[in-house]
Subunit: 249 residues, 2 copies
């Protein structure tokens, strides 16, 4: 490990994420088990690749803070951003059950991780059925988000796509308690969003400019400010969207 990683002991019971409404509650016994299951903490720098598409992985992670990107690459060099990684996400579930990962994960901002050993993965199912259940839950959630993204990329136009993306960022950021003064941090590049939506960088840029000049949303200097949430919601066609609660591993 030359990740520039360092030890930072943090007991699960003190995990700041638990306080968030976004996550399903934990009982004492579960916390105790997870504490024993956890093999350590780790901090990684921007640019680090936590997983590489097609490779096996010895460690699995829960994101405590920081942001990243899940992506797949094609023979022709193009890249599809499959999802954005945010605190609370469990990374490596695929490597846990299947042999390898189907996508890569790159760290965008300094990230703090909780580390687990893949070799002990099956223990969860054997000793803690609830935790196994939670893992299926998380996998089903990922499936849900991916289906939404697929629908967006397949059926929405450019303005709707970008609106959908920003709406999604705003909702997730808010649920994580990152909303301050009407703004959520959004330190990704326009190219990242373009690759997530299946649009070209240029067209994404122009669409963002339109949302800005129409007074709907402002994404600049790594921060997103939604000025007219209702209009954004309408453009994104997600009238009744509610971010589902999720288990924390």
């Amino acid at each position: 490990m030359t990740y520039g990683s360092e030890k930072i002991p943090l007991h699960c019971s003190k995990c700041p994420l638990r306080r968030l409404d976004l996550f399903l509650p934990f009982d004492e016994e579960e916390i105790k088990f997870m504490e024993s299951f956890k093999s350590g903490d780790m901090i990684v720098e921007p640019g680090t690749h936590l997983f590489i598409e097609g490779a096996e992985a010895a460690q699995l992670y829960t994101v405590l803070s920081g942001l990243g990107i899940r992506y797949k690459t094609l023979e022709n060099g193009r890249r599809q951003v499959v999802n954005f990684v945010m605190p609370g996400d469990f990374l490596g579930l695929q490597a846990g059950v299947m042999q390898k990962m189907s996508h890569s994960i790159e760290v965008t901002t300094k990230m703090r991780l909780c580390v687990f050993e893949r070799s002990r993965f099956y223990e969860l199912y054997k000793n803690q059925p609830d935790r196994g259940y939670s893992l299926t839950y998380l996998a089903a959630l990922e499936e849900y988000f991916l289906a939404e993204a697929l629908t967006t990329v397949g059926q929405r136009g450019a303005l709707e796509k970008v609106s959908w993306g920003l709406h999604r960022f705003r909702i997730r950021g808010e649920a994580l308690g990152l909303l301050k003064n009407g703004k959520v941090p959004l330190p990704f590049k326009q190219q990242d969003l373009a690759d997530a939506l299946g649009l070209s960088l240029v067209h994404t840029n122009k669409t963002l400019a339109k949302l800005r000049s129409d007074g709907i949303a402002n994404w600049q200097d790594g921060e997103l400010e939604v000025k007219d949430f209702q209009a954004l919601t309408k453009l994104a066609m997600v009238e009744d969207f509610e971010l589902p609660k999720r288990p924390l591993i």
Copy 2:
């Protein structure tokens, strides 16, 4: 249930799907448990909706034979086909762990199903850790397929998309033992494929015509004949694709 359903007892140990190489092996005890877990068989006619987006579901299914479509609809009336349902697929996992389904499932050809009660879902985790593990496995597989589809819809051009779709059908059909005389059954409509790839019906049709006139693949009368598999593979940009084995529930 007015689905025109009928009873057809079939013991799990005699399930014809087990013989296929596509599925991971089962031991005696597992078969015994599944037999007790299963609540019945059912046959449904084309046009039936097994699940409706957003609704809760009391039953979960394993597809024994027949084909179907998973899809989501948007406010503007457009439809995204999220995946095609084939024998061996487990339906309703999302409803099992989360409250509701994020997509609908419609039956395309007469389908035979193995039925389970959602209320007993948690038993799997409690009493049969291996089965719980398998469910996570299946969910992770779905995630994998969805990510592939997302990459296709987001980053490939029309000819590549259609090639990818046909390649996928050919591979899945073959793995299910449906390949006969170089043909696999493909009883979907062009509109279904178009909705899966994020293309218009007209353009999909014209792209299929091109593949046909180029002597690469022929999809007509509900059957797909791949005449130049290598060329198709190249167009689809899936050089080293291997269909992963999967557990059967």
